[in-house]
């Protein structure tokens, strides 16, 4: 993965992200709540690396603290999506035709519901919170994962070695773990890292709409949303969070592509020769 320019770029950005997120838990250049009414909309300076926003808070510190929130959302969403997706795939390759067909048609029917609608429905009782983003995105991306990995899973389920395993008495769980999951791993890995990117984008959209991260919690979407109102006067403040989100999402997408190339024997020539 380190061997391509894209892979190196993506990995470095993601490592910096994780480092910043961990560091922000113990240290930020300026305290988050040290707002100075005299110093609103400052240009970047020695004290405020990226300037200050409308309340006089340090933009860089807020973005740094936001990286921890976004990392948390990202990881939780991917975990939810993976759990749901693999559960649905397990149902798809189940030997009971009823379970298999129901899970397939259910995914087909529910996949057309946009995540933002689920988020809005959940936000009415729960209020704006991280939980809303994680549940809505986890559900949406889980369904997506099940749909995308379906052909490979079905192909694997019908292969000779799975039939051999069935004949020799392996349980359904064992077949799933040791035969079907390794087969769909490339697709799952790619899809999950695309989902991670989408969750960062979704956070910024949902937070702007008022159903994402609650106000007062630092996140990139929050930084972007608060700088929107005075965009015409202070365009620079809105520039940073947007640029940051774009960079991170781009890296997650590139990361997905490189993972796919690295572990898929059909596109990785080194693996193909070894096989």
């Amino acid at each position: 993965m380190w061997s391509t320019v894209e892979g190196r770029f993506a990995l470095s950005i993601l490592l910096v992200w994780v480092f910043m997120a961990v560091l922000s838990l113990v240290w930020t250049p300026q305290p988050l709540w040290a707002t100075d009414g005299q110093q609103v909309w400052q240009k970047p300076s020695h004290n405020h690396w990226l300037g200050t926003d409308g309340t006089g808070a340090d933009v860089f510190s807020w973005l740094m603290a936001g990286s921890a929130t976004n990392l948390l959302i990202c990881l939780l969403t991917v975990a939810c999506a993976a759990a749901l997706g693999i559960l649905l795939i397990a149902a798809t390759v189940s030997r009971s035709a009823l379970v298999a067909n129901t899970s397939i048609v259910l995914v087909d029917a529910l996949i057309s519901i946009p995540t933002v609608l689920i988020a809005l429905i959940l936000a009415v009782p729960l209020g704006a919170s991280v939980v809303v983003i994680v549940l809505a995105c986890g559900l949406g991306y889980g369904l997506n994962l099940a749909r995308v990995a379906r052909p490979q899973a079905l192909l694997a389920a019908r292969s000779d070695y799975v039939i051999a395993a069935q004949v020799s008495g392996a349980s359904a769980g064992r077949i799933l773990v040791s035969h079907i999951l390794p087969n769909i791993m490339p697709v799952v890995a790619v899809q999950l890292s695309l989902s991670a990117g989408s969750s960062v984008l979704a956070e910024s959209g949902l937070t702007y709409l008022g159903v994402g991260v609650s106000s007062g919690v630092p996140s990139w979407g929050h930084s972007l949303a608060t700088s929107v109102k005075l965009i015409n006067v202070y365009p620079l403040t809105a520039l940073w969070p947007g640029l940051l989100v774009t960079l991170v999402v781009l890296s997650l997408n590139l990361f997905g592509d490189s993972i796919g190339d690295a572990i898929d024997p059909q596109s990785n020539s080194a693996l193909r020769e070894a096989a």
């Binding site: 057309s112 009415v124 990117g197 929107v228 947007g242 781009l250």
Partner: protein, 325 residues
């Protein structure tokens, strides 16, 4: 046929499940719905009056039953705030949202298909990877930020090139199409660019898969050049897949549409729904959420059936492709 029946039954079940989810999420609100709607400064009598008027003192199953009955009859209730019927209100908002999404998707298709084909067919390697990288970067831009950049570049008043208005929708609506279209330009362009990027990526990967297949080899052995074969044979083969992708993109586009409507102050479905949630007009929210969900389920159904229509190979197989036994 069996798939069709199963799919439609599931469609109705999904619609029903969504209605329960929406109903339940509005009823497990901390405090009850009437207290929330009446606001903080209301007397207990006002709350009781509201509860009586909305039928909220009845048991939950009865409330759900009468809501469902009204839905089936096409009666979506009245907004507490404006007093207008909700179907009227939704129709007015849809006259902004549908043209916006329509323009956006046309733009996205033009950009996406052109760039996607270029990324596979262009003769120079540099142009091919340029198209690919451009799509990757554009697809990583948050809609909100993309809209902001377009405002900074093109908006009347503050932009670098001042040609398009950046806020609001004319009160005259579509009676003056030129003015209305102008206000749509930047929002639709925002949606089109972001969605076009993802369509580019799908088109590229679908065409790339096909390009190495036997069909293209066959077409070339009949005397077509690689690009002729891709255009005439390849695109037709990827069509079912692309239809599915566009359908799914359409569903994801609504998030973008909501953000864009808020950013550009367009009175559409998305911004209207957010306003209603903010105003605690919960009866309206309940019906509007249901209508939107129903709309997307219908889109999903159409896309699925279209996919099977366009791909005759799927017709014979059953859902799991295990053959009829």
């Amino acid at each position: 046929m069996r798939y069709l029946v199963r799919r439609i039954v599931l469609f109705i079940l999904a619609l029903w499940a969504i209605s329960i989810l929406i109903f339940a999420s509005l009823r497990i609100l901390p405090g009850d719905i009437a207290t929330v709607m009446a606001g903080i400064n209301s007397s207990p009598e006002q709350v009781a009056g509201l509860r009586l008027r909305l039928g909220l003192n009845r048991p939950l199953p009865a409330q759900y039953g009468s809501w469902l009955k009204d839905l089936v009859h096409g009666d979506f209730g009245f907004s507490m705030l404006t007093g207008r019927s909700i179907s009227e209100q939704v129709a007015a908002r849809a006259s902004v949202t549908f043209p916006l999404v329509g323009l956006g998707i046309v733009l996205a298709l033009v950009i996406g298909l052109t760039m996607g084909c270029l990324a596979v067919m262009a003769r120079s390697t540099r142009l091919r990877s340029f198209c690919h990288m451009l799509a990757l970067v554009a697809g990583s831009i948050p809609v909100l930020w993309g809209g902001l950049l377009l405002i900074l570049l093109f908006s009347r008043g503050t932009g670098l090139i001042q040609i398009f208005p950046s806020q609001g929708f004319p009160d005259t609506g579509w009676r003056r199409p030129a003015e209305a279209l102008q206000t749509m330009a930047l929002p639709a362009a925002t949606l089109g660019l972001v969605v076009g990027a993802s369509i580019t990526r799908y088109t590229r990967s679908a065409l790339n898969d096909i390009a190495g297949s036997g069909w293209i080899d066959m077409a070339r052995s009949c005397g077509m050049t690689r690009n002729q074969a891709l255009m005439r044979v390849g695109l037709r083969l990827t069509l079912p897949q692309l239809v599915s992708v566009v359908g799914l993109t359409f569903a994801e586009m609504i998030t973008g549409a909501m953000v864009v409507e808020n950013l550009f102050a367009l009175p559409g479905l998305g911004s209207g729904l957010i306003t209603d949630i903010g105003n605690r007009d919960l009866i309206a929210v309940q019906s509007e959420l249901f209508m939107l969900a129903a709309f997307f389920l219908v889109i999903g159904l159409i896309v699925d059936l279209l996919h099977r229509l366009l791909d005759p190979r799927l017709k014979e197989s059953t859902v799991t492709g295990r053959g009829r036994s």
